[in-house]
């Protein structure tokens, strides 16, 4: 390539406005009609602008204000109403995941649920909670004949004692000598017991599948027998759950079998099909009915009451002889399984008639009265309700009698039998009562499901007739709709006060009551009384032998409301805090901050001695969350003098930070306008500081980001005003007061910087806010700064200059320098602007070649190229400092380009150089293409002075040299040659656009050479070359002269 010595580069003189005129396309007025106008309406909210689609109806409908937007949310998420996917509520995955049980039986029960919706807590969830609550470490006896053979050989055989000789003969006559007659009693630990039950379950299914249904039935009967036994009584509820699983299983098997046997031949079809899922009894063929009847007959002949109740079964065989044998085999004189077995296959009644259920359920309810042991009877009733609920939820007549009967068994609690049991097993009455609790809850839940208020009245009346006991009352409060309970809240609180505390500690009742009144509002006039009475009673809770805190706190007498004195004697703080947690929400919802404050004060006084608050962090956090949910006016919230001391109780870091986050988040969501309330601001600053100080080098990125976002969210809402402008309310003339406002704001930012120096995102926000302040000032003065505003702007620039080095991320730093420089220049602070640019250039050496951006290790080169381009274009607007050399900033930048380590596989540096050449050409014009308003740039300094042009030409030659050198080096492999051509083309293009082609410049030959080089190893299909050629020709045609010659010399 030719050296550049004999070149004489001169910039092509441009007339920008003429060119603009020539290039612009014709325009016409759109007459105000826009095709999208009907569909889109712009909605302005206080904080954001959102476009909401209203539908094609028209934009005249008023749009209700959308809820305050959470700035941390994704702005692209649209409201749920418009989202078509969320409209479809059926989610198959969530339905499947609700079945958490592992045994076969429970799953099948779920499948039989018809007519119950999600408001009914299903048995499966209750089941798991019972199994985990009622456990024992004692050994549990199990009597069964169906044990695996190795174990049987180990044990001696024991024949079950018969009730009389006659009966014993029969047993020996009829029983097989197979495994049916050998029954052993083992004492197992709880784990082994569970395993044994599972084995029984499996063997029941196996026998059934192998057509040994008789044996399967025997297993079911023996399992039900286990329910009579109340030794190891603490385990009874869990035992109930396990065994009823097996019975459900069995019931399902029978039902299924009968259904399969009842294949019907639909009219017109030739193949028999099974009955559909919801069949009526007339659809059942005779064979099915017969089988079903057989099963029921079989059960009816089981001797013992309880087994007869639970499973319900019948022979299944088809031939009469086996019918005969199987009937005779059912004379188990000691097999107590009837009740449970009958209930288990209740569903089979549907084969016989459609309306048998209700009758059968009522009959079985009455039968349960025959069970003497109250615990066994209670659970039998619960099972009955459960079966009833699962197959016939619409028949509810049996439910209330069940409950009434249960209540009447209370009189048995003092009987000898119960007392003996308690004595033998070392139980207290309250522990015994505790065992009843799941059964009672279940029965009441069944009653309360979709019940009316009248039902509640009935139930309450029945309870009052008998003894009001704590578990029952608790279950009532938990099951019925909160609205009903809340209506009668005062009555309930009286009942709670008066009830006996057996089986359930009283504070649990208060918690339940609290939950109800929070979920639904009690009548207005009753609210205060309720609060009063509850606290009065809570204060009387005593239990011997525990520390007692005495505190009296008087609230002011407010003539409209109330006066009350709280005397709180507390025993276990656990109870106290549980009650307070629930009732705090009630107070926050219905009362003012004064009550909340008093309550907080109370809690603090309780929690402080002995640092007991450390044990109750979850409750304290939940109290704060509940308060936040209901008090959204932050001025009020923070003005409660006990709020921050309460937060001080949370001394564990992670807990404190979590709570601070919640408060600030809530603040951001609910505070719609900017605030200048010093109380709020100070309090929030304190919280943000806590969060910020929590971050350290080990914090996760995510946490850092989250806290950063929260702090920024808070800072955005702050608009501190001077005190007198607050009083005057903000509508004072902006000219007078705004200056003070801005200074306050800057002062606030300085403070913020001091507090939040650890998080990059906050610093960036602060810097940009300050820049925005400066620009806002400029806007107010409309570009002509007064002395005062100029000083202010300089102060802003100084702030940025100091703060930017604290930012960690080098790329952010560079951008900020550039941005702040622009702001400074546009505000007339020229020396500050220069300082920024110099600092940016100095920082270039700190840019690494590779950085982790977006969690990927990427090269920074792409960013740098864009940055340099941006910088170059900025420099056009920057006037030179007269003390320095012309274009010294540009020279500095070009030198700084060498600081960055360019990669050798790309030619980005050359691209920047080429762009610099373009810039230099633009810098030589008489009038620059663009400039900042009210800022003189170089065109007024030099106005195309030939001396400047000469200087620029020197620079350009240097740059050209560099580029040519580089291109020469790209001459080895084909790959490099391609790059060479590409680069040559670029150089050609920019030179052509900006150079003056004339005798003096001597550029034509260079251009031709470059063109040829570009064509040699061109990439792509050469369309660009054709395009360029076209441009050259056009210009040649238009301007003529050297251009035309050039055009002729080029060939594609």
């Amino acid at each position: 390539m030719a050296a550049t010595e004999d070149l004489n580069w001169r910039p092509r003189l441009r007339q920008y406005d003429v060119e603009l005129e020539r290039l612009s396309l014709p325009r016409e007025d759109s007459s105000g009609h826009h095709p999208l106008m009907g569909l889109v309406a712009l909605v302005e909210t206080a904080s954001t602008t959102k476009k909401t689609k209203l539908g094609a109806k028209g934009s005249k409908d008023t749009v209700s204000a959308p809820p305050p937007s959470d700035p941390l949310q994704d702005p692209l998420s649209i409201s749920a109403a418009a989202d078509p996917l969320s409209a479809a509520l059926l989610d198959p995955l969530s339905a499947a995941s609700a079945e958490s049980s592992s045994t076969f039986g429970a799953k099948k029960t779920e499948m039989m649920n018809v007519g119950i919706d999600e408001t009914f807590e299903p048995w499966s969830s209750k089941r798991t909670s019972i199994l985990s609550t009622y456990t024992t470490s004692q050994r549990i006896p199990i009597t069964t004949s169906f044990l695996p053979s190795e174990e049987r050989e180990k044990l001696e055989t024991k024949a079950q004692a018969a009730a009389g000789d006659k009966v014993k003969n029969r047993l020996e006559q009829l029983d097989d000598l197979e495994d049916g007659s050998v029954r052993e009693t083992l004492n197992l630990s709880q784990v082994e017991y569970l395993r044994k039950i599972e084995e029984l379950n499996v063997s029941l299914v196996n026998h059934w599948d192998n057509d040994q249904r008789v044996k399967a039935l025997k297993i079911a009967i023996q399992c039900s027998k286990l329910l009579i036994d109340t030794k190891v009584i603490q385990f009874y509820p869990s035992k109930f759950v396990l065994i009823t699983d097996i019975l459900d299983n069995f019931g399902y098997l029978v039902y299924d079998r009968i259904r399969r046997k009842s294949t019907i031949i639909l009219p017109g079809a030739s193949k028999p099909v099974m009955l559909p899922e919801n069949f009526t009894s007339d659809q059942v063929p005779d064979s099915g009915k017969e089988t079903c009847r057989n099963w029921f007959f079989k059960i009816a002949s089981i001797r013992e009451l309880i087994p007869r109740l639970y499973p319900s079964l019948s022979p299944f065989s088809s031939s009469s002889s086996s019918l005969f044998y199987s009937l005779s085999a059912w004379f188990f004189p000691d097999s107590p399984t009837l009740s449970y077995v009958e209930a288990a296959i209740m569903k089979c009644y549907s084969f016989l008639t459609n309306k048998e259920y209700t009758q059968a359920l009522i009959r079985l309810t009455k039968m349960v009265r025959g069970i003497g042991d109250p615990l066994v009877a209670g659970y039998a009733r619960a099972y009955l309700c459960r079966v009833g609920m699962s197959i016939a939820p619409e028949s509810r007549m049996h439910l209330l009698p069940n409950f009434t009967d249960y209540l009447s068994t209370y009189s048995q609690l003092n009987s000898d039998h119960v007392q003996n049991t308690l004595g033998l097993q070392g139980l207290e009455m309250s522990q015994y009562m505790h065992l009843f609790w799941p059964a009672v809850e279940w029965i009441l839940q069944c009653i309360a499901y979709k019940a009316s208020e009248a039902t509640l009245d009935d139930v309450l009346a029945k309870i009052k007739e008998n003894v009001v006991s704590a578990p029952v009352l608790n279950a009532v409060m938990n099951s019925f709709k909160p609205e009903y309970i809340a209506q009668k809240a005062t009555m309930f609180s009286d009942m709670v006060r008066d009830c006996e505390e057996v089986g359930l500690p009283k504070y649990k009742l208060y918690v339940s009551l609290g939950n109800c009144v929070v979920a639904a509002d009690p009548p207005q006039k009753e609210r205060l009384q309720l609060l009063n009475s509850v606290w009065k009673t809570v204060s009387k809770l005593t239990e011997p032998g525990v520390r007692v805190y005495q505190l009296s706190c008087c609230a002011e007498i407010n003539k409209n409301f109330f006066q009350y004195v709280i005397i709180l004697l507390f025993l276990s703080l656990q109870e106290y805090i549980q009650c307070t947690q629930v009732w705090m929400e009630y107070v926050a919802k219905h009362f003012t901050k004064r009550e909340v404050n008093t309550l907080l004060d109370d809690i603090i006084k309780h929690m402080t001695p002995g640092r007991v608050f450390e044990n109750h962090y979850p409750e304290l956090v939940s109290i704060i969350n509940r308060i936040l949910a209901h008090m959204t006016d932050f001025h009020v919230l923070f003005s409660m003098d006990k709020f921050l001391p309460f937060m001080d109780l949370l001394q564990k870091d992670s807990v404190k930070v979590e709570v601070c986050q919640n408060v600030v988040k809530s603040f951001i969501i609910h505070q719609e306008e900017e605030t200048s309330d010093p109380v709020v601001i100070n309090a929030n600053m304190y919280l943000c500081k806590v969060m910020h100080d929590h971050l350290n080098a080990l914090s996760l990125d995510d946490e850092r980001r989250q806290i950063g976002n929260l702090v920024i969210g808070f800072l955005m809402k702050v608009r501190p005003l001077t005190s007198w402008s607050v009083q005057l309310s903000v509508k004072t003339s902006p000219q007078i007061s705004f200056g003070r406002d801005f200074e306050q704001q800057l002062g606030f930012f300085v403070e913020a910087r001091a507090s939040f120096s650890n998080v990059d995102s906050i610093l960036v926000f602060l810097i940009q806010s300050v820049n925005r302040l400066a620009m806002e000032t400029r806007r107010r003065v409309k570009g002509s700064h007064t002395r005062k505003t100029a000083a202010f702007v300089r102060a802003c620039a100084a702030y940025c200059y100091i703060t930017i080095p604290s930012v960690d991320n080098i790329l952010l730093k560079l951008n900020l320098y550039l941005l702040s420089g622009r702001v400074a220049i546009s505000n007339g602070a020229l020396s500050q602007g220069d300082a920024f640019f110099k600092a940016a250039i100095n920082s270039l050496k700190d840019v690494p070649q590779f950085m982790e951006i977006d969690r990927k290790r990427q090269s920074t080169e792409r960013f740098m190229v864009e940055y340099f381009n941006s910088f170059l274009s900025t420099l056009l607007t920057v006037p030179d400092n007269p003390d320095q050399q012309a274009l010294y900033l540009l020279r500095g930048l070009l030198n700084g380009l060498n600081e960055y380590q360019w990669s050798t596989s790309t030619d980005c540096k050359m691209r920047v150089y080429i762009n610099a050449i373009c810039l230099l050409a633009a810098a030589c014009q008489e009038r620059y293409l663009y400039s900042l308003e009210k800022v003189d740039c170089n065109d007024s300094l030099y106005a195309g002075d030939p001396k400047l042009v000469a200087e620029v030409a020197k620079l350009v030659h240097t740059l050209l040299d560099q580029v040519m050198e580089h291109m020469k080096g790209l001459n080895t492999t084909l790959e490099l040659k391609k790059r060479q051509s590409h680069l040559a083309l670029r150089l050609f293009a920019s030179l052509f656009a900006h150079v003056e082609l004339s005798e003096q410049t001597n550029m034509s030959s260079l251009l031709v050479n470059l063109w040829n080089l570009a064509c040699k190893h061109r990439t792509g299909d050469g369309k660009m070359l054709v395009g360029y050629h076209g441009v050259v020709k056009n210009r040649g045609a238009r301007v003529g002269g050297h251009y035309q010659e050039l055009a002729e010399q080029l060939s594609v």
Partner: protein, 295 residues
């Protein structure tokens, strides 16, 4: 191997006098089956057994009363021939009519009296092959007749009302009251009633309903009345709550009960006992004779 089976059209195999029993013989065989005749016999018999009480154990063992034949009907299904392989169905129809002068009693399986109706199919095979047979039982019930009146019986059991008490001092103080809905029971409906334990000084272990059949068989030497238990249903388990009404409910088992029957040769009657068993194993029984009928 080949199988022979009787399949009746009715799933529940219950027939009334005068009806026609329809069904089919089902012969299944893998290969062709040759036979020398298939006959179907319908048989209804009352078999009586002597009770040990009346004539002594050995007499009862060796002798037996002649069974009374209620109906006997034989039908030749097919003369000698061959049946194809696979499953062959040969339908038949038999009228259910008793012998002259006899009445068809209901099917009843008891201890000393057994009323049994069977269908027996005989297939004679040529030499060197065993004959095949199959017996299938069916059930006979009475045709609809007049309904019985319901008769409610109230009862009270207390130490004073007991008979047959050896040592009245040992009897605990108790009072049980109740009622039986009707002692004229329909066999298809359950036996219902209620019972209330008003008070009891000794704790109760169990309350049971015992269904007893009383069979009377006659022979030359005399009649013997034998009560035997059919089933024992527990009504209450453990020490029940005092003062609440406990239901009595018992379903009559199908083959082991039949309507109360009295003929010149034998009698079949039923009774229900309410048994209260106390904690110390002493028991109190109250007896209620009942009359069962089909309608």
């Amino acid at each position: 191997m080949a199988t022979l089976d009787i399949r009746l059209k009715r799933a529940n195999k219950v027939y009334r006098e005068g009806e026609v029993i329809k069904g089919a013989l089902v012969v299944t065989s893998k290969s062709e089956l040759s036979h020398t005749g298939i006959t179907l016999a319908m048989d209804g018999t009352v078999s009586l057994q002597l009770s040990a009480k009346s004539v002594g154990v050995f007499e009862a063992f060796y002798n037996s009363l002649k069974p009374i034949n209620l109906l006997n009907y034989s039908l030749e299904i097919s003369k000698a021939g061959k049946l194809p392989s696979g499953s062959t169905e040969i339908p038949f129809e038999l009228p259910l009519r008793p012998k002259a002068g006899k009445k068809l009693y209901e099917t009843y399986h008891g201890v000393f009296v057994n009323i049994l109706y069977t269908l027996k199919v005989d297939m004679k095979r040529p030499l060197l092959n065993k004959d095949m047979q199959k017996v299938s039982e069916f059930i006979v019930e009475y045709a609809p007749g007049e309904k019985q009146e319901e008769k409610e019986v109230k009862f009270t059991i207390s130490p004073q009302s007991l008979e047959n008490v050896k040592d009245r001092g040992r009897v605990p103080d108790f009072l049980v009251s109740g009622k039986i809905d009707t002692v004229n029971c329909c066999i298809t409906k359950p036996f219902c009633g209620e019972l209330t334990v008003e008070r009891s000084s000794s704790s109760i272990r169990s309350i049971e309903l015992q269904l007893v059949r009383v069979e009377t068989c006659g022979c030359a030497e005399g009649y013997a009345r034998d009560p035997t238990e059919i089933q024992n249903i527990q009504i209450a388990d453990g020490d029940v709550c005092k003062g609440i009404v406990i239901p009595l409910y018992m379903v009559f088992p199908r083959l082991f009960t039949s309507p109360t029957l009295a003929t010149s040769n034998f009698k079949v009657e039923f009774e229900v006992n309410v048994v209260i068993i106390f904690h110390d194993d002493s028991l109190v029984t109250e007896n209620f004779p009942i009359k069962l009928s089909r309608f």
